[in-house]
């Protein structure tokens, strides 16, 4: 943006902010206070002044105190927190175990936010395997650490039956989001998408099986290319 436009924008913000603490009442017009009471506005005026003078004095002043009733709060159970374990295929580096933590917030029965952190350790490339002791990465660079922020959508909700007496609610879901991956001495912007199946055996427990692809650009092996890193995981989550 041009410097002139920036100065114009700055001036606009400064002018607006300097006055905005005084404008909180602009849209909150309360009913105007009428100094002469409600008689002019046509409201009821049940007891006129002479009636109050003629009224007999009360013999007993009732001392009634209303009992305060506290209504129990309704607990909400929209958050999920848990751990997952599975297999991650890091492109060019083989398949390794992956583990991590995940948290979800259910916005509606259809949509949910999910955040994941996870870690894996990359194996050897074919080049390294064939060349004996040659190594492309140090041991610390082989750590594959990532986080994702995703939006999920439940579809095909249903029930899974275990024998005659047990029914568990279930749903397939798709999710996609953004995040970052720390691998081979670099941090890459990462797009993820995937699908899964969720079973809820009780009100507080959810079991998830998911397949997720984590895509980022890597220039580790000479040329810049888009790498696909697919993982399959099993997660045990607790609702709270």
């Amino acid at each position: 943006m041009e410097t002139g436009s920036r100065v114009l924008l700055l001036t606009l913000v400064v002018v607006a902010l300097s006055g905005c603490s005084t404008v909180s009442g602009w849209f909150h017009h309360g009913t105007p206070k009428n100094a002469s009471g409600s008689t002019e506005s046509g409201g009821p005026n049940p007891v006129s002044a002479p009636d109050q003078e003629n009224a007999p004095p009360r013999v007993v002043e009732p001392e009634v105190t209303r009992r305060q009733i506290t209504v129990p709060r309704i607990k909400s159970s929209n958050f999920e927190l848990g751990a997952y374990y599975g297999v991650l295929s890091i492109e060019d580096f083989g398949s390794q175990e992956v583990y991590g933590l995940s948290a979800a917030y259910h916005i509606t029965e259809d949509f949910f936010f999910q955040g994941d952190v996870g870690r894996s350790r990359a194996g050897l490339t074919s080049y390294e395997t064939l060349n004996g002791n040659l190594r492309l990465l140090t041991e610390s660079e082989r750590l594959f650490t990532f986080y994702d922020l995703s939006l999920g959508y439940n579809f095909l909700p249903g029930e899974a039956f275990l024998g005659r007496g047990t029914a568990m609610t279930s749903a397939f879901y798709i999710l996609g989001g953004l995040g970052a991956t720390d691998f081979a001495g670099d941090t890459m912007f990462t797009v993820n998408f995937g699908a899964g199946y969720c079973v809820v055996p009780s009100d507080w427990l959810a079991l998830r099986i998911a397949v997720q692809d984590r895509v980022f650009q890597s220039s580790l092996l000479g040329t810049t290319k888009l790498t696909n890193n697919i993982q399959a995981t099993f997660a045990v989550n607790v609702f709270f």
Binding site: R6, C20, S24, I107, A180, D203
Partner: protein, 251 residues
């Protein structure tokens, strides 16, 4: 004397029974509501597709165990547990007859609220940005906001942290412009293959404009542009354009 002792013992036992009885000593654990419509339908799961398996007749009470999204898990007097939708629950009443109300967020809350949180991906000087913010409102127009972001680019990665003021021009409107101004700090990790420059922390300032659009319940969209100035120790300052679009909620 004997009679007095017996009475004392009886009184003591009754007191003990009252103290040990959890139902009498403890306040009611769950909210009790009464069905005022001809019946209340209970579903097997918290979703519109799950079948109705039970109907609670009018005037019977239900205990509300907990809520998940728009669905309430309830237990009837006969011990049947099921899920009732929010729309159906709003037709029940408290013990004193007043209708049950539950605030899931509305336009009035959007116009005037205390807290706001959001996640906004975008671009920061050409690099991909992932950011989150939280704000606390001073009045419906003015809020103090703090945000954290991570940018990942071809030439550098880094983290930004900002704190500043938001001015909502028309808080009551479904779609309203925002004006932003504030200060921050940026941590830059340059990427280079031959000579590795040192990481650096620089103070920043920003000014920007945005737009917020109410979606539903407690959720709204927010888009914004901010011009960031990075005050470097070199001869000239840097100017960085930041674009963000994301989903936020208030309460």
């Amino acid at each position: 004397m004997n009679r007095q002792a017996r009475q004392c013992a009886l009184a003591g036992l009754m007191l003990l029974a009252i103290l040990l009885s959890p139902t009498l000593c403890r306040a009611r654990e769950y909210l009790q509501l009464f069905v005022t419509e001809p019946y209340l339908e209970l579903h097997t799961g918290p979703g519109r597709g799950y079948p109705v398996f039970h109907a609670v007749p009018r005037a019977e009470s239900i205990d509300v165990l907990f809520r998940r999204t728009d669905w309430f898990k309830v237990r009837t007097e006969r011990g049947v547990e099921g899920w009732a939708s929010q729309a159906d629950m709003l037709k029940t009443a408290y013990a004193d007859g007043t209708p049950f109300k539950f605030d899931l967020g509305d336009r009035a809350g959007f116009a005037s609220h205390l807290w706001e949180f959001g996640v906004m991906p975008g671009q920061y000087g050409g690099a991909s940005l992932i950011s989150a913010y939280a704000s606390v409102s001073i009045n419906p127009h003015l809020a103090v906001e703090g945000s954290l972001g991570q940018f990942l680019g071809r030439y550098s990665n880094g983290v930004t942290g900002d704190i500043g003021f938001d001015h909502v021009v028309w808080p009551e409107a479904r779609c309203s412009p925002l004006l932003l101004i504030g200060l921050g700090e940026v941590h830059i990790e340059p990427k280079a293959t031959l000579v590795q420059p040192a990481n650096r922390n620089e103070p920043t300032a920003y000014v920007g404009v945005g737009l917020r659009f109410y979606l539903s319940r407690r959720f709204f969209l927010r888009a914004q542009y901010a011009a960031h100035y990075i005050f470097t120790t070199r001869t000239s300052n840097e100017e960085v354009d930041e674009w963000k679009l994301g989903l936020a909620f208030f309460f």
